[in-house]
Amino acid sequence: MDQRIIRVVLAKTTMDAHDRGVRYLATKLREAGMEVIFMNFFEPAEILDAATQEDADVIGISSSVEGHLPVAREVTQHLKRNGKENVLVIFGGVIPDRDVDTIKEMGVKGVFGPGSSADSIVAFIRENVRTPRVSFE
């Protein structure tokens, strides 16, 4: 009996023109009943601000143009520093194989490369989202 709506901040850097996948995912997560806040970011701190303001359960970051390592580092470290490790962080786009383990060690729970189905991401979020829901103050 879990009626709460999962809130997802989906973000990509403004520098990245490759937003077709992440926009598609936004549509599909909404269709799956989640609430999606889609944003472009300039600096990773903006993602964290949005996640705080929107009390997000999930942060999804799309990166197809490198630059994912510093973003993953800043986001996961910030969450740890603030005791918010239970906010689920996932990455999508083009994350080279060589970096997948590195960002998972930082605390990114899922990495969804090209060809990942939206259904598999919905299922992953439902399985791994924090519970019970903790307010992101």
């Binding site: 520098m15 077709r20 472009n40 060589r98 090209p114």
Partner: protein, 584 residues
């Protein structure tokens, strides 16, 4: 002399027979009977396969219905004039009387990564492998990096990890020297692939050329002026109207001062990459191009003065016939719209096309398969008669191309050009009932979308509409892949667990550090008084531009670059005065 040219031009745009139908009524009656006979046999075969012939219908990737076979009566409505001849209005069959007989299409791979010196090495290497432009001139299709696109400098905090990614780390006149020193600027054509930092990029190139003593009217190349892309590309941007005005300002400057420069690039490729289908790509390319052309006219330019320097970059994706018919339709439609706008010189009605084979349909799974896809794309573009081509590399879905993959893309073009024999004949598919019918169908459907955009006040007034249409198409595409009604080999069919281990390119991490040091050194060592004066002038020029003054912006930005202002600094001025905002 000019008079004579324009009289000839007007003749060129005139119908050659005046709307004569292609076939006699008796002939068409006979072919309709023929179709009935064929249909009964086809239906019988369908039933043997358990298919109800009444509901049997196939569609192109854009959703256009197609018949299993075409007959003369399917193109009977089409007057002879709409086909015409290569090099004659409305240019359905090609822009010039000769297609590839004396000069093949230009091989123009996109190059750009890391430091300017690293990009230069790749330029020199690919040139040694046969990369060549028109008339045997050197040709460089150079892309700037993400940091430059954002209009910032590499030492900006948000640039971390993105310097020299997806393009070259070039931010100043000094970086232009690192890129181009030793090359003969008058004997080369250089496309500066840049987004909204376009003005800064041109300023650096012009300032650099002047220091080398090369007059601007001798420079050949291309500025993109892609501001309209903010409708469908998720990057921070100028608002639509100032963007269009910036483009028109630069087009005006180049028209007067740089006759060899291509001033505007209509980037259908980006639309299709963002999710647009072929019909939308034609419609929105046309709509954006005409809207910007109108702005140029409003700013005092005559159509025949500037339209000849407009170029197109068009995608070539998976639906083989639809993609090549799209190009034929676009040529005809653009010619007609430019004629309506007042163009009379054939060059002002030409859709000069650089084909960029689709990256969006390439797969990270079984990546070597992409070589087969891109070969088909390039082959289709060649049959459609395009002027230049860039073939995406097979590792496109993984990273910046390696030297090996970039060379193979060049080889795809060279093998088609020199082994297949298709360059002997212009518009080899012209007259095919199917190809002509599909070309007509695309034209009809694209015109509906174009008219809708015009009804909404023209392209720059309905970015949201364009975005919504393209996004809906992207969702449809992906849903079809998931439902397996659209097959992607290696993704939703013939999937293999075996990993194709291909080399993946990585930008040297040192490049970022060097680029940051360079920009810091530039700021520390430049003549500060000169820089301050130039920046103050740039601000005033931008204010005057905003107030409606014409012609002053590019020269002011060139002086800023000459005083060692960086891309981030020049763009800072424009952003501050014209607005800069998220894309959605």
């Amino acid at each position: 002399m000019r008079e004579a040219v324009s009289v000839k031009a007007a003749e060129n745009a005139a119908p050659f027979v005046g709307g004569v139908p292609q076939f006699t009524p008796e002939f068409l009656e006979a072919t309709r009977e023929l179709e009935k006979d064929w249909r009964s046999k086809f239906d019988a075969i369908a039933r043997k396969f358990g298919v109800d012939p009444k509901t049997y219908l196939k569609r192109t990737d854009s959703g256009l219905p197609v018949k299993p076979v075409y007959f003369p009566h399917d193109i009977a409505d089409m007057p002879q004039d709409s086909l015409s001849a290569p090099g004659r209005f409305p240019f359905t069959r090609g822009l010039y009387a000769a297609q590839y007989q004396f000069m093949p299409w230009a091989n123009q791979p996109v190059i750009g990564f890391g430091l300017p010196e690293e990009t230069r090495r790749r330029m020199d290497y690919l040139q040694s492998q046969g990369m060549i432009g028109y008339f045997g001139n050197a040709f460089y299709n150079l892309v700037y990096d993400l940091v430059s696109h954002e209009g910032i400098d590499p030492d900006h905090p948000s640039a971390e990890g993105r310097v020299g990614q997806c393009g070259m780390a070039v931010y100043s006149r000094e970086d232009n020297a690192r890129l181009f020193d030793g090359l003969d600027l008058e004997k080369m054509n250089v496309v500066h692939i840049s987004y909204y930092e376009n003005m800064a990029v041109l300023a650096h190139y012009l300032a650099y050329a002047r220091r080398r003593g090369v007059p601007w009217n001798k420079l050949g190349g291309n500025s993109m002026n892609w501001y309209y892309q903010s409708a469908y590309t998720g990057m921070t941007c100028f608002p639509p109207k100032p963007g269009m005005q910036l483009a028109a300002e630069m087009i005006g400057f180049c028209t007067k001062r740089m006759p060899k420069w291509n001033t505007f690039n209509i980037f259908g490729y980006g639309m299709e990459e963002a999710g647009a289908d072929a019909v939308q790509e034609v419609a929105f390319s046309l709509a954006a191009g005409i809207d910007y052309a109108r702005e140029c006219v409003a700013r005092g330019l005559r159509p025949d003065e500037f339209l000849g320097r407009f170029g197109f970059q068009i995608s070539q994706a998976n639906d083989f016939f639809e993609e090549l018919c799209k190009i034929r339709a676009l040529r005809r439609m653009w010619a007609s719209k430019c004629y309506e706008l007042g163009a009379r010189d054939p060059r002002s009605m030409h859709v000069r096309i650089h084909t960029h084979t689709s990256g969006a349909v390439l797969t990270a799974q079984q990546p070597v398969n992409n070589l087969i896809r891109t070969t088909l794309h390039a082959f289709g573009a060649a049959l459609a008669g395009v002027q230049a081509m860039e073939v995406s590399t097979y590792d496109e879905a993984l990273a910046i191309p390696t030297e090996e993959s970039a060379t193979l893309s060049l080889r795809v073009q060279q093998i088609i050009q020199e082994e297949s024999g298709i360059t002997r004949v212009a518009d080899p598919l012209g007259g095919s009932y199917y190809v002509e019918a599909l070309t007509n169908q695309i034209e009809k459907e694209a015109l509906k979308i174009y008219d809708e955009v015009e009804k909404r006040g023209g392209y720059h007034n309905c970015h949201d509409y364009v975005r919504a249409k393209i996004e809906a198409s992207a969702v449809r595409w992906r849903d079809q892949v998931d439902a397996k009604t659209r097959i992607l080999v290696g993704v939703n069919k013939y999937v293999s667990d075996e990993i194709q281990d291909v080399e993946v390119f990585k930008v040297n991490p040192e490049s970022e550090r060097v680029a940051v040091e360079r920009v810091k050194a530039l700021r520390a060592n430049r003549d500060h008084a000169k820089w301050e004066t130039a920046m103050a002038d740039a601000k005033r020029a931008t204010e005057r531009f905003k107030a409606g003054e014409i012609g002053g912006l590019v020269p002011a930005m060139v002086e800023a670059s000459d005083a060692d202002a960086t891309t981030g600094e020049i763009m800072g001025v424009l952003k501050e005065h014209l607005g800069w905002r998220p894309p959605h």
